[in-house]
């Protein structure tokens, strides 16, 4: 009955649950939106993906879910468990969406349906992905709300999204992802619209549910400072490519790519006086020969 055991049943112990290889998402512009991305997501681990807007972070996530905008030309490989998702039809993708992989978004005011009560939205998510009756669905929903520390469940369930605070709405969104029973959650700037204290709470919730439910999380943010606190691994994206990838400690301690160094330098830190305005440099280098992109070999996770 519990989520943890149901996902444990078809868990693949040795190997990533989602494996993206050489993904290219091309809209026919001068440069593809995603230009040869390779990433792995492992159950129970959080991969932080940093980079400025337009670097292809969200597009990588949306494409993995089969939600790339129409007109996208997609090549490469996206393997979820043992199923290839590039080139398959919407029917297959919609089976994977929800129960296999799901996504939470920023701006919950727009991302939650404004005219439908939270109760109905969560129940719809349960019903779409699980075979259960009304009582079981309600139980799942209440469990998920407790998981995200929304203990006043009745009040939340009877609310419309606009009646919740930003932090509460984002937690409802996380609860919605939990009731789907997905193993992979893409979180697209989940705390960007929130103030700093609420941001921390939401991040801690994401860390905790990832641990408790052995979720593979891809956490997208433009703020590498937010990511370094809760991610197991970091990937830095620039112009559609992963320019640096490694364990969070390694990347933070010894960034190899100049873009990563620039991102890190842009974070104000206690004890370091910020004496000058840090401007993001433009990197007109050959992005195909990257020093650190493959620093983690694929077998090194065991």
């Amino acid at each position: 009955m519990s989520r943890a055991s149901s996902s444990a049943a078809h868990r693949v112990p040795d190997g990533p649950v989602l494996s993206v290889r050489d993904l290219i998402v091309d809209f026919g512009a001068a440069e593809p939106a995603v230009n040869g991305v390779s990433l792995d997501l492992w159950q129970g681990r959080i991969l932080g993906v940093a980079g400025q807007s337009g670097s292809g972070k969200s597009m990588t996530a949306l494409t993995s879910l089969g939600l790339a905008p129409p007109g996208a030309h997609i090549t490469g490989s996206i393997r979820f468990r043992d199923q290839e998702l590039v080139g398959v039809g919407q029917r297959t993708l919609s089976r994977v969406r929800g129960s296999g992989m799901t996504m939470i978004f920023q701006e919950t005011n727009a991302a939650l349906n404004p005219v439908i009560q939270v109760r109905k939205q969560l129940t719809l998510a349960v019903r779409a992905n699980r075979d259960c009756n009304q009582d079981e669905a309600h139980e799942l929903v209440v469990d998920a709300l407790r998981d995200v520390r929304l203990d006043d469940t009745d009040r939340v369930l009877n609310s419309y999204p606009h009646e919740l605070s930003g932090g509460m709405a984002q937690r409802v969104m996380i609860a919605m992802a939990l009731v789907c029973g997905a193993d992979v959650i893409f979180a697209d700037e989940p705390t960007t619209a929130l103030d700093v204290t609420v941001q921390r709470e939401v991040m801690e919730i994401i860390r905790r549910v990832a641990d408790e439910h052995r979720l593979a999380v891809m956490l997208i943010s433009h703020d590498i400072g937010v990511l370094e606190e809760i991610s197991d691994e970091l990937a830095v994206m620039y112009r559609g490519r992963v320019v640096e990838r490694g364990s969070t400690d390694d990347v933070i301690r010894a960034p190899e790519h100049p873009y990563t160094r620039a991102l890190l330098d842009s974070i104000p830190r206690i004890g370091h006086e910020l004496t000058e305005f840090v401007e993001m440099p433009s990197f007109d280098m050959d992005l195909t020969s990257l020093p650190a992109a493959e620093r983690i070999a694929e077998g090194s996770h065991s």
């Binding site: 939470i104 005219v115 009646e163």
Partner: protein, 317 residues
């Protein structure tokens, strides 16, 4: 809800008052009067004076307006210049065909326009979806007086499938009744259906491309639920607020349809009133139609408030 109603009434009542002023001004601005209508060009000053006194036209204009407005409020629509009978006797018998044809036309526009608009929105990137959308452009711009005449000529005169004129009441049998209104209803609904299709399509496309629908896809919600539960629920508000406009479009076509199919409706009553310079009848009909459209938009506002929790909240705080 009461608060919303009161708030709207503060707009609706002045609007209706403004309509009464404009409607009344029709008579003042347009030349001619009962004397012309009744005497047919005779210019005996005494007779004209007598007639004007009889209809109260010798009084100052503002006084005429208030006695006319008072009559309207009491339900006294005035006296027809053309027949000397109360205007309500002129309008009453003509309401049946108009209410039926405009009502059914609106229903048809809502159902057909809603269904086609949904289809065009869901299939917006396919060739057929785009073709349907392009076709509505023709529907909007088709001149009804011309198209109605052609259709009546083909179906009524050449093929003799449907009667080409007249209104057979329901009392004379269902089939003759329906066949007498079939062409008028379909033709009066044609531009409104096209407008409705475009409107439903654009609101549905906006809903389908919204972040919350993307969330629903990401959560694995089935396409049937996304289209018919989630997106439709968000699209229904703009569609409801479109209803008064739809009604106004239908009423606008009524004159043409009544004339082409020789129907005893308010549309032909307007034409008759203009023809005989029967201003009291004209004023009453124009006022009736305008007030109906204004009241419809009031109802639409109240329905919207009931549908949208954000508006409900606004209404209670």
């Amino acid at each position: 809800m009461t608060r919303v109603l009161i708030g709207r009434l503060r707009v609706v009542v002045p609007t209706i008052l403004l309509i009464t002023i404009l409607t009344f001004a029709l008579r003042v601005i347009i030349p001619g009067g009962p004397a012309d209508a009744l005497l047919g060009g005779s210019d005996n000053p005494d007779t004209i004076k007598m007639i004007n006194e009889r209809y109260g036209l010798d009084q100052p204009i503002w006084q005429q307006y208030f006695s006319w407005l008072g009559g309207m409020l009491r339900g006294d629509l005035g006296t027809s210049y053309a027949t000397g009978l109360p205007v309500s006797d002129v309008i009453g018998p003509r309401l049946a065909s108009t209410v039926e044809i405009v009502g059914l036309g609106m229903l048809l526009a809502i159902l057909a326009g809603g269904a086609i608009g949904m289809y065009a929105a869901i299939h917006r990137s396919t060739r057929l979806g785009r073709l349907v959308f392009a076709a509505t452009g023709i529907g909007v711009s088709l001149p009804v007086f011309w198209f109605a005449t052609i259709v009546a000529g083909i179906l009524g005169v050449a093929l003799r499938i449907l009667p080409v004129n007249g209104y057979t009441p329901l009392a004379d049998g269902l089939v003759p009744h329906l066949s007498s209104i079939a062409m008028p209803v379909v033709l009066i609904a044609l531009p409104s259906t096209a407008l409705m299709t475009r409107h439903v399509r654009s609101t549905m496309v906006a809903a389908l491309e919204s972040p919350y629908v993307r969330t629903a896809w990401a959560m694995g919600i089935s396409s049937r639920r996304v289209y018919f539960d989630l997106a439709l629920k968000n699209a229904i508000g703009p569609v409801v607020s479109f209803m008064p406009f739809l009604a106004a479009t239908l009423v606008g076509e009524l004159v043409i349809i009544d004339v082409v199919f020789v129907l005893p409706g308010l549309g032909s009553a307007i034409v008759d009133a203009v023809h005989f310079r029967d201003y009291p009848s004209l004023q009453a009909i124009v006022l009736l139609m305008s007030v109906a459209v204004v009241l419809l938009s009031l109802i639409a506002d109240l329905v919207l408030t009931a549908l949208d929790p954000r508006r409900r909240k606004e209404a209670t705080t």
